[in-house]
């Protein structure tokens, strides 16, 4: 019985994340449009886009190899697996021990590795520019992320997300400077990882300002649908990650009963809405920065991460 309910919760989580991801993207677009006093497309527009793309034929560049065709599914699969392990509405998921936080981040790194390769596969200059910039951003974002994980792991004594979430809800966590710094750094990394303003612009149509969009320029049809879905999923994943570690309120624990799960789900939706609104506000208020400003932005995140870790070494209560 315990196994069946755990399996059920895990399955619900897996389906929920995929179903909700385009909604979050649509919601953010809607909020951004309203902030710019535009009507904007409906919140369910991303679903329509993905369905339409799925039904269209793929126009494949003559030079594209098998790697180019496999990559969209690989990226979607690794993002999905990572998103399925992060607690969204309940902790203690059946397979939460499969990968700890370090492994989840590395798994997303695998997805990026393949996307960067796909950018170079057709042999166009735009694909190359996107890939080379993406890996440059990643070389700074990944160490920053790891230092943030060090901070959290030192505070909670674990790299396991369920344990971290449980620790953060317990009274012993208190107010800590190191956690505050880590949160700021994590938000900066999340913005860079998801190719949002000010690092990259998801809505740009100027090729030379693109990073992520330049890499996927040659994709079309169902391949593009998978990549778009994976990108939405990744954005949602990072918001879930921040929510589960820094605002783990109303997270249902294992065997908590249906009511607790429903409360957890509602709380999760609220957290997504708040996260999405804040992101839209932030994006409307800032301008995209020049590509060689990004290292400074991410270097700041890296230093904040190191600072947070070192503070913990000075005193475990900071």
């Amino acid at each position: 019985m315990v196994v069946i309910s755990a399996l059920l919760v895990q399955a619900v989580q897996m389906v929920t994340v995929v179903l909700l991801a385009p909604l979050l993207t649509g919601f953010i677009r809607k909020v951004k449009s309203r902030l710019l006093r535009r009507q904007g497309p409906s919140v369910i527009q991303p679903y329509r886009d993905i369905l339409r793309l799925l039904r269209k034929e793929v126009v494949l560049a003559e030079n594209a190899s098998w790697l180019f065709r496999v990559t969209p599914y690989v990226i979607f699969a690794v993002t999905w697996v990572a998103a399925a392990i992060i607690p969204t509405f309940a902790t203690g998921l059946m397979f939460s021990w499969t990968a700890d936080l370090i492994a989840i981040i590395a798994l997303l790194g695998s997805g990026r590795f393949f996307l960067a390769l796909a950018g170079m596969d057709v042999g166009t200059s735009f694909g190359g520019i996107g890939s080379s910039r993406e890996v440059m951003i990643a070389t700074l974002a990944e160490p920053a992320m790891l230092l943030i994980i060090f901070t959290l792991a030192l505070v909670a004594g674990s790299t396991q997300l369920s344990t971290i979430a449980a620790f953060m809800t317990s009274p012993q966590v208190g107010l800590r400077v190191s956690l505050g710094i880590a949160l700021i750094a994590l938000i900066m990394v999340a913005i860079a990882e998801n190719a949002r303003i000010p690092v990259d612009n998801p809505a740009t149509h100027l090729e030379l300002t693109m990073v992520h969009e330049a890499m996927v320029l040659e994709y079309s049809g169902r391949h593009l649908a998978m990549i778009e879905l994976a990108a939405s999923l990744k954005l949602q994943l990072y918001i879930s990650l921040i929510a589960c570690m820094f605002v783990p309120w109303k997270l249902a624990v294992l065997e908590a009963g249906l009511a607790a799960y429903l409360v957890g789900l509602l709380a999760y939706l609220a957290k997504l809405a708040v996260g999405g609104t804040l992101l839209a506000l932030f994006e409307t208020a800032t301008a995209k920065m020049r590509i060689f400003r990004v290292p400074e932005f991410l270097g700041a995140a890296l230093m904040l991460g190191l600072l947070a870790t070192l503070l913990l070494f000075v005193s475990r209560s900071l």
């Binding site: 590395a106 790194g109 590795f113 596969d121 166009t124 070389t139 230092l147 040659e218 913990l312 070494f313």
Partner: protein, 673 residues
């Protein structure tokens, strides 16, 4: 027959093969015979060493043997314990696959008599280093290994740059052996006991231990490629034939790591805490600088050689962590860090051999090592490119392959550092952890470049467009290694349990048994703290990817049309418009290179109306070469110049010089006592 006898017989068989090769090198079948024999002998050696590692009665038991060779009062001591057995597995497994690859690749060798005799001799040398149980045998075998590999580096001595590489290699190798000689001299003490058993029993004073550690870092570090002693490595490793490059990078650097572990963890006794700081700093610097150099490289084999330097850095960081924990009596954490180091030794031997084999296949198919002249090989060489891709993912420390498993263990060891009492270590270790993460991220960037520029895109030259897939034996060697990269990645628990005897014998502690954990996860400390399951990550990813692909093709659309590339409406037919290795690395060069290489870009833009082409020049310097080696070479040259006229003295002056020297020596002796 004890295992030690079997291993020695294997080493003798390698030597016999070498002699056979000298006699029969010019015959037509020599290549098959020599590599075939090496393959058989290495396979026997792998089996013996594996049995000794896994099935030994107790982890501290060892199989010893003394032969009446070498120094008359000492004899030649050999010993096969858990540590030696593990490294013998690495060496001989690398040897077996290099032989298998050589069976196919060796046919393209235009002067086989320059390679065949030295290949088995090199394997014999590496085996003997690890088996040696006294300083004399160790140094003799070490020097033999160096000379055999030097001969292999010089195999293509007519190619540009190779003689220079060989010269630099032999100078650095001699310097390394000198440092080891002094280290063993100190360890032997005034009685001159060169037997390792005696050294193990003697407790060294802390000053002696400190000097020995520094000498070891110089001696073993110069062979392993620790910064700043790495300069020979990226020149010498690529100069050898590719299967030998694989052996040198994947295996010989590990023999150096073995030498370091043997002396520092086994012979020196309990280490001092400060010693770990030195090792950590050198390791961290090596990791980051090695991979930054690799990123700037255009030559595929040199890129791989620089990446070897990075991996050696990662291994030394883990060894430094193990030293820090062992110095403070934290057995479990030390076992975790040491397991991470040894696991990475094994992993690196897998994927680096694989990548060098792949580079060799590209070299055979196109005659090019320069990535700027390759491209599009994924269409022409599908199997090689698949195996190479597996190697790239593995070396970039991406789950679910093996590189990630050992990096993950290293990060878990870093997270144990708050328990340490020393403040210096507490502050350094998180920073080193950051460097480790930085080097992992840079590695991923580097191998996106290596694979993307070499195998993807469109062919940049005619030869790349006409490349042909290589022979089946070479492919078999690559695919065995690729399969092992996956297996070690999804079943890391087996490897970690296999390493337990080594950590038990060296630091008296081991990690918890992993094979009993449900679902074959690995749990270094406790499950609430951290766990990782490569098998499930692999299965989930593979399953969800195939499920999605199936559903999409079944229910949505499977239509596909080939068309010219879109490229925003301006597709350019010339393959020169693609991103090259240099342009791919440009953003990273701007971010890191301005500091690490003092890289400067100079744009020469002609005025409007001027018909001169615009030029972009990049100037970058190797600061270590310019700052350390050029002054040393200058000083040596200066002294040699000054002493030169001693060559042309009359006999009278020579006699007075001898007399003067005698007087000075006697004076010194008188003042000393």
């Amino acid at each position: 027959m004890t295992p030690a006898v079997v291993m020695l017989l294997c080493a003798t068989a390698f030597l016999g093969t070498a002699i056979l090769a000298i006699l029969a090198a010019r015959s037509d079948r020599a290549t098959q015979v020599i590599y075939g024999t090496s393959l058989v002998v290495s396979s026997i050696a792998v089996a013996t060493a594996l049995v000794q590692l896994v099935a030994a009665i107790s982890p501290t038991s060892a199989s010893t043997l003394t032969l009446p060779l070498g120094l008359p009062w000492l004899g030649a001591h050999f010993r096969l314990d858990a540590l030696a057995a593990f490294f013998l597995v690495v060496i001989n497994f690398g040897g077996a696959l290099a032989s298998l690859y050589g069976l196919g690749y060796g046919h393209h060798e235009h002067a086989p008599q320059r390679v065949l005799p030295f290949f088995p001799a090199f394997l014999a040398g590496m085996n003997l280093v690890v088996l040696a149980d006294d300083a004399f045998t160790f140094l003799l075998s070490w020097e033999f290994m160096s000379l055999a590999s030097w001969a292999l580096v010089m195999a293509h001595h007519r190619a540009a740059g190779n003689r220079n590489a060989g010269y630099l290699y032999i100078v650095m190798a001699s310097f390394g052996t000198l440092a080891l000689l002094l280290a063993f001299g100190l360890l032997a003490g005034p009685e001159g006991s060169y037997d390792f058993a005696v050294m193990r029993a003697t407790e060294q004073t802390s000053s002696t231990a400190g000097i020995v550690l520094v000498l070891l870092l110089l001696g073993a570090g110069s062979k392993a490629g620790l910064v700043p002693l790495h300069v020979w490595l990226p020149l010498a490793h690529p100069a050898a034939p590719s299967h030998v490059s694989a052996l040198m990078s994947g295996v010989m650097t590990k023999v150096a790591v073995y030498g370091f572990i043997r002396v520092v963890f086994d012979l020196l006794g309990t280490p001092a805490a400060w010693s770990s700081v030195v090792v950590l700093l050198f390791g961290g610097a090596t990791a980051v600088l090695g991979i930054l150099h690799a990123l700037m490289e255009k030559d595929l084999k040199r890129l791989l050689a620089y990446s070897t330097i990075e991996n050696i850095g990662v291994i030394f960081v883990s060894l430094g962590l193990a030293l820090a924990f062992a110095a403070n009596g934290m057995g479990l954490a030390a076992a975790l860090a040491l397991t991470a180091a040894l696991f990475h030794v094994l992993n690196h031997s897998f994927f680096k051999s694989l990548l060098f084999f792949g580079a060799g296949a590209v070299l055979v198919a196109t005659g090019e090592r320069d990535m700027e002249k390759l491209g599009g090989l994924i269409h022409r060489m599908p199997f090689t490119s698949f195996a190479f891709l597996v190697g790239c993912v593995a070396i970039s420390a991406l789950p679910p392959l093996n590189g990630f498993a050992s990096e993950w263990l290293a990060f878990q060891a870093v997270l144990q550092s708050p328990e340490l009492p020393q403040w210096g270590l507490k502050i350094i270790i998180p920073a080193i952890g950051g460097l480790l993460a930085l080097s992992a991220a840079l590695t991923a960037a580097c191998f996106v470049k290596a694979f993307g520029v070499t195998f993807l895109g469109r062919p940049r030259t005619l030869v790349a467009g006409q490349a042909r897939e290589v022979d089946r034996l070479s492919l078999a060697a690559m695919f065995v290694l690729a399969a092992l990269c996956l297996l070690a990645g999804i079943l890391p628990g087996i490897v970690m349990d296999g390493l337990a005897p080594v950590t038990l014998s060296l630091i008296g502690a081991r990690m918890p048994v992993q094979m009993g954990v449900p679902w074959l996860s690995i749990v270094p400390i406790t499950e609430t703290r951290s766990s990782y399951n490569g098998l499930l990550v692999f299965l989930f990813t593979a399953f969800s990817a195939s499920l999605t692909a199936y559903l999409v093709h079944r229910f949505a659309s499977r239509a596909l049309r080939r068309a010219p590339a879109w490229d925003c409406g301006f597709p350019e037919a010339d393959p020169a418009t693609q991103y090259t290795a240099g342009s791919f690395a440009q953003p990273i060069r701007r971010v890191f290179g301005t500091l690490a290489f003092q890289a400067r870009e100079r744009v020469d833009m002609p005025a409007p109306g001027d018909l001169r082409p615009a030029r972009l020049a990049v100037v970058s310097r190797d600061l270590i070469w310019d700052g350390l080696y050029v002054p040393i070479a200058g000083a040596v040259g200066f002294i040699a110049e000054k002493l030169n006229h001693l060559q042309f003295l009359t006999i009278r002056r020579y006699l007075s010089l001898v007399f003067l020297a005698l007087v000075v020596l006697l004076l010194v002796l008188a003042l000393w006592s």
